[in-house]
Amino acid sequence: MAEVLVYVDHVDGAVRKPTLELLTLARRIGEPVAVALGAGADATAAVLAEHGAVKVLTADAPEFAEYLVVPKVDALQAAYDAVSPAAVLVPSSAEGKEIAARLAVRIGSGIITDAVDLEAGDEGPVATQSAFAASFTTKSRVSKGTPVITVKPNSAPVEAAPAAGAVEALAVTFGALATGTKVTGRTPRESTGRPELTEAAIVVSGGRGVNGAENFGIIEALADSLGAAVGASRAAVDAGWYPHTNQVGQTGKSVSPQLYIASGISGAIQHRAGMQTSKTIVAINKDAEAPIFDLVDYGVVGDLFTVVPQLTDEIKARKG
């Protein structure tokens, strides 16, 4: 059976959920061979094996942390040369997309980004994508070279599928471009203890209607009652009420949770672009004409300052 390369997104050996989803998709096309780079790469093997990786190629070198993107491209290319896979799958993070794109140029392949589903097809893997702020669904293929495909979080279930997952060291030689962009400083994000926005099953977002940084506490309280991640519209982010990393939409994160709750958000096209594929959508807005209500499964026309706290209290009461 053909092998499929899966690029592993991990933090110091802790594999992030979208990578496990990629393994599910990879198994539809062939045998997953994982590539894990950087500090803690070896520690990823156990969980990757549980989810179907037949092999885990690992490499660590200071270059991965000290220079931007290109060292990882060199390593993924080394894995590609070693395996000759039928496809290369990479998580659709900002960095993942850049790595995938540069690999595609080098190996003379087409690239598909932000797939939300993947199936085997007669002419190679068929990717489902969303277009025009998720108002269209397209199916496409890579028609030249080995398909390189980046896949969004929440595109497939995580499935247990025990495989060998034997660790093999990957030999990497860095090219001249690898040290072009130096990372001279790094400030890690502080953990909020809440789920990662793109991976969360429930996202609770606030917009301009929240009217102040100090008021985001009621959005956070609702999120915490549901074990949800917190999102924000660009208006709320631009006003400085919430960090940009939490922005949902075209120039922020794109989310596709089971449940999305928008409070004080009008539903502009650029915001929709990042949340329209959520399974269930709920909105609280005092303007009955707000476009967000066109999307909702359930909407409350009302003041978020009374509706949201009442909802939070009711959820807590029901959960006991």
Binding site: A131, S143, R186
Partner: protein, 261 residues
């Protein structure tokens, strides 16, 4: 010595219009008004600020696109760019990111550059991979997704706010930079700027000028194939209630019914 800046700008269908695909499954660029991609205005803005800081700089805006794409160039010129290059050729219809990046790379090399600046993503294709591909093709450092950028003494530095960390980056020129919409509000063209733009030079190049064969680009030369495009079914109308004092409780009841509580 003059700092030569090339800014890549894209002409895109207005996102607030009713965007559609054509029969050959390419983006319909005829029935919706087009404009300079808002995200590329940030690239033009940063170019202008970098040029202001430099002793001597020249900003060239570059687009690959149909006849109407000149509008995007005019807008960038009216913001303050010095000259423009429009790459246009009938054989370019349906070109995907691999082909577009090839054309842009050849055009940038022909124009001459010290610094290339792009937006973070186009608002129609929204792939956001072209900058990385361009850096690979040009063989220069990639300094991408910057929310802050500075150029001094032949070195570009900037801040990249990533998923897990905020990084400080540094590279020597020549280099490729892409900027996000966090990099700073783009200026509006002044009346004077709009008038001046009318006199600024816009060069037109075709594939032959760039020594690119027709079969390397276009729909035929595309590296990817779109097999189908279907409009997402409209979401079924949901329940909408007016809060009469029990709105939060009613919503909780709905969520419980959906097993979220």
């Amino acid at each position: 010595m003059s700092l030569r800046i090339v800014v890549c700008v894209k002409y895109v269908p207005d996102a607030t219009g009713d965007r559609q695909f054509t029969e050959d499954l390419t983006v319909n660029r005829d029935d919706v008004d087009g404009l300079l991609s808002e995200l590329d205005e940030y690239a033009v803005e940063q170019a202008l600020q970098i040029a202001d800081e430099a002793d001597d700089a020249e900003i060239t805006v570059l687009t690959v696109g149909p006849e109407d794409a000149k509008d995007a160039l005019r807008k960038a010129l009216s913001m303050g760019a010095d000259k423009a290059i429009h790459v246009e050729d009938d054989d370019l219809h349906g070109t995907d990111v691999m082909g577009t990046s090839l054309v842009l790379a050849k055009a940038i090399e022909k124009a001459g550059y010290d610094l290339v600046i792009t937006g973070m993503a186009s608002t129609d294709g929204t792939m956001g991979v072209l900058p990385a591909i361009l850096a690979e093709r040009l063989g220069v450092p990639q300094v991408t997704l910057l929310s802050e950028v500075k150029v001094e003494d032949g070195t570009v530095t900037g801040r990249r706010d990533g998923d897990t960390a905020s990084e400080q980056l540094e590279a020597s020129l020549p280099a490729l930079v892409s900027v996000t919409d966090q990099s700073g509000e783009a200026r509006y063209p002044s009346f004077k700027g709009i008038m001046a733009a009318k006199k600024k030079p816009v060069e037109s190049w075709d594939l032959e000028d760039l020594e690119i064969e027709a079969d390397e680009v276009g729909l035929e030369g595309s590296w990817t194939a779109v097999d189908s495009a279907a409009q997402r079914p409209a979401r079924t109308a949901g329940t909408i209630v007016k809060d009469e004092g029990e709105g939060g409780k009613q919503l909780a009841e709905f969520l419980a019914g959906q097993k979220f509580i």
